[in-house]
Amino acid sequence: MKLEHYKFPFHVILHPFDGFWDMKYEGKGKARVALIILAIFVLNIVLQRQFAGFLVNFNDPRELNSLDDIQFTVLPFFLFCVANWSITTLMEGEGKFKEIVMVTGYALLPLALINLPLTFISRFMTMEETSFYYLLNSFAVIWFFYLLFVGIMTVHQYTATRTIVTLLLSVIAMGIVVFLGSLMISMGMQIYYFVLNIYRELIFRM
């Protein structure tokens, strides 16, 4: 991979309209880069929950679990991509699944950039200064949402209203996916135990 692949995300977050256009039509984006950004973001979340300063860290240390943190960031990421893809396919969106993944991944870059230094600085903050911590954090989050909005709009060639509607529908679709998923799992468990019980019954009787 060339150096410019790593430089491109920075161009995207500063010039989103330009950047996402280039990503779609000039083929400048790389799914691998998006996944690397996601990995950095997950790592940041894990570090932040564990090592953020005492004054801003309200996590119960008995319940910190890095595997959970990974699970609760990576799964929603792909859940959103799948949900958005399902919705936009029905709503005449032009984006491919790979492009949605890239947009979402590249949009995460501000969060991935700001969280780690912030975690470090938060350890040297007093109570009055923690408002800067929250300010920068929410700034990164707003940036992320802005990039996601612009990215989805560009990739699917939507109008602004249409983008907002599809984003809201994606959230609903995410809920449906989770609901169906848990339904499947619980039914799968029922079937598994049914078969297991029959097997045990046979074993005991033979």
Binding site: L55, F124, T126, M127
Partner: protein, 489 residues
């Protein structure tokens, strides 16, 4: 057959012996606890062990009948208001009966109490009795001579059909009388030393929940008329501390401030700096069996800024320090020694805690454990501003129970006062108290910065000089090369 009989015999014998060999350790029938930062109830070593219970028969005065209140003076004299028998039993601190007052001389005729609800004894040993069903307060000398009677007050602010049913009474150093009266929602009734009504203090504010407000908005006028009035709850008990502040409790299911500390002008000045509201249990079931908040029916100021409140609903005792931290809670309902049926009053005899149980017609005596004593003395030392000694006591407490957050906080506060900021930070982190932590941290950070200011500035200056000179050198080189090139041309 014979073999089976022997076997049976042996089984019976082994059963009997196993019953006899029960471990004889000092077990309490209750579990003491406090709430930590995460709202878990953390078990504690018992602060008090049940010692014994005292019946009227044990004292040789016949059994009590529905006793309603009890008071213990500073020098350890015990006054039991034996309401069912309409008498006051006075004991010394060794539980020897001194006197029984069942009748008193009222203007030539013999007079008695009728279901009295509360008793208070001043420093001059004047006995104040809230004679509930006779609608009066009776003031007696320690010998049982009548001093005065406070009757139903005459005042413009009282309704004409007002009946005066005093249930609890307390008296401050200026002999002002504070009365909890049944059916009075305006606050505590206050009388001056001559017994004339001054006014109310400590009015409880009525709070309407959001759902109530919506219902009121939606209801028609006819429905609204039939609705319950939003009136505040009555007070349940009063006590007075050494500084003359009135402590009171009231039973209110919706309030987070059932305990109040009233200053002379009637404002609530109780400190509530703890993790949770000063209301007894903070974790309880919302519905079903044993649900709902504590019903705090008695309060006792026990010195060192601490006060103990009695929850008659679950039969528990809660002790708070002056900042509103729950030091410990213990007790329960049941028939074993140390558990209650209907506890009505809590008092201290020396370092012993005594609880009057109306349902059991007895007094339960608790002796403090090493843990309880250490917590008390550490809290009082801290309250008196004696930080260094308090730290030693807190360390003793931690040795017995390393899960005790207040001990870490106590040590941290003392260290903060001694300007040992870095150590204080550690202790505040352990006690999870962010307000104090940030104070310690701010000081520590300033210290470090001052200490290393010289080094920091030197490094910065050196870096700047190096950077500037490098730039100069490179520019000079560039110019020289250009010069050479021009010359070469």
């Amino acid at each position: 057959m014979k073999f089976i009989r022997i076997l049976l015999m042996m089984m019976v014998i082994s059963l009997i012996t196993s019953v006899v060999v029960v471990p004889v350790s000092a077990q309490t029938p209750y579990e003491a606890y406090t709430y930590n930062y995460y709202r878990d109830s953390v078990p504690l070593p018992a602060p008090y062990l049940p010692d014994r219970f005292v019946l009227g028969n044990d004292l040789g005065v016949g059994n009590f009948k529905d006793p309603n209140d009890m008071y213990v003076t500073e020098d350890g004299f015990i006054y039991i208001l034996d309401s069912g028998n309409s008498r006051i039993v006075i004991l010394d601190s060794d539980w020897k009966v001194i006197r029984i007052i069942s009748t008193f001389d009222n203007a030539g005729s013999s007079d008695t109490f009728k279901n009295p609800g509360g008793i208070f004894v001043t420093e001059e040993k004047m006995i104040y009795v809230a004679d509930t069903d006779n609608n009066r307060i009776i003031v007696l000398t320690n010998e049982g001579e009548l001093v005065k009677i406070v009757e139903k007050p005459q005042s413009d602010i009282l309704a004409s059909n007002f009946t005066f049913n005093p249930s609890k009474v307390a008296v401050d150093k200026a002999n002002r009388i504070f009365v909890v009266a049944r059916g009075v929602y305006e606050g505590l009734m206050q009388f001056d030393e001559k017994g004339s009504f001054i006014g109310y203090v400590g009015t409880i504010n009525v709070t309407q929940s959001f759902a109530d407000k919506i219902w009121l908005r939606l209801a028609t006028d006819a429905q609204r008329e039939r609705m319950q009035l939003y009136i505040p709850t009555e007070f349940a008990s009063v006590d007075i501390d050494a500084k003359g502040f009135v402590y009171s409790t009231n039973v209110d299911m919706n309030s987070e401030t059932p305990i109040k500390r009233l200053n002379p002008s009637g404002q609530d000045v109780l400190k509530r700096f703890g993790y949770y509201p000063v209301m007894g249990d903070v974790r309880f079931r919302a519905f079903g069996n044993n649900s709902g908040p504590s019903k705090l029916t008695d309060i006792k100021v026990i010195g060192g800024g601490m006060y103990t409140v009695l929850d008659s609903y679950r039969g528990r005792l809660f002790t708070y320090n002056d900042e509103g931290d729950l030091l410990y809670a213990f007790g329960g309902r049941g028939t074993q020694l140390g558990l209650f049926n209907t506890p009505v009053a809590v008092e201290m005899v020396g370092d012993k805690l005594v609880v009057l149980d109306r349902g059991k017609n007895s007094i339960i005596v608790y002796t403090p454990t090493l843990f309880g004593n250490s917590v008390h003395s550490a809290t009082s030392l801290h309250y008196d501003g004696n930080g260094a000694d308090a730290v030693e006591q807190w360390r003793e407490v931690l040795r017995m129970n390393s899960n005790y957050d207040f001990a870490y906080l106590g040590i941290g506060k003392s260290l903060l006062m001694e300007k040992k900021n870095k150590e204080a930070m550690e202790y505040f982190k352990l006690g999870i108290h962010r307000q104090y932590y940030t104070i310690a941290f701010k000081r520590y950070r300033r210290e470090v910065m001052q200490e290393h200011f010289g080094t920091f500035m030197t490094t910065m200056l050196t870096l700047v000089i190096v950077f500037v000179s490098l730039r100069l050198v490179s520019r000079w080189r560039l110019r020289r090369n250009e010069n050479r090139e021009t010359r070469a041309l």
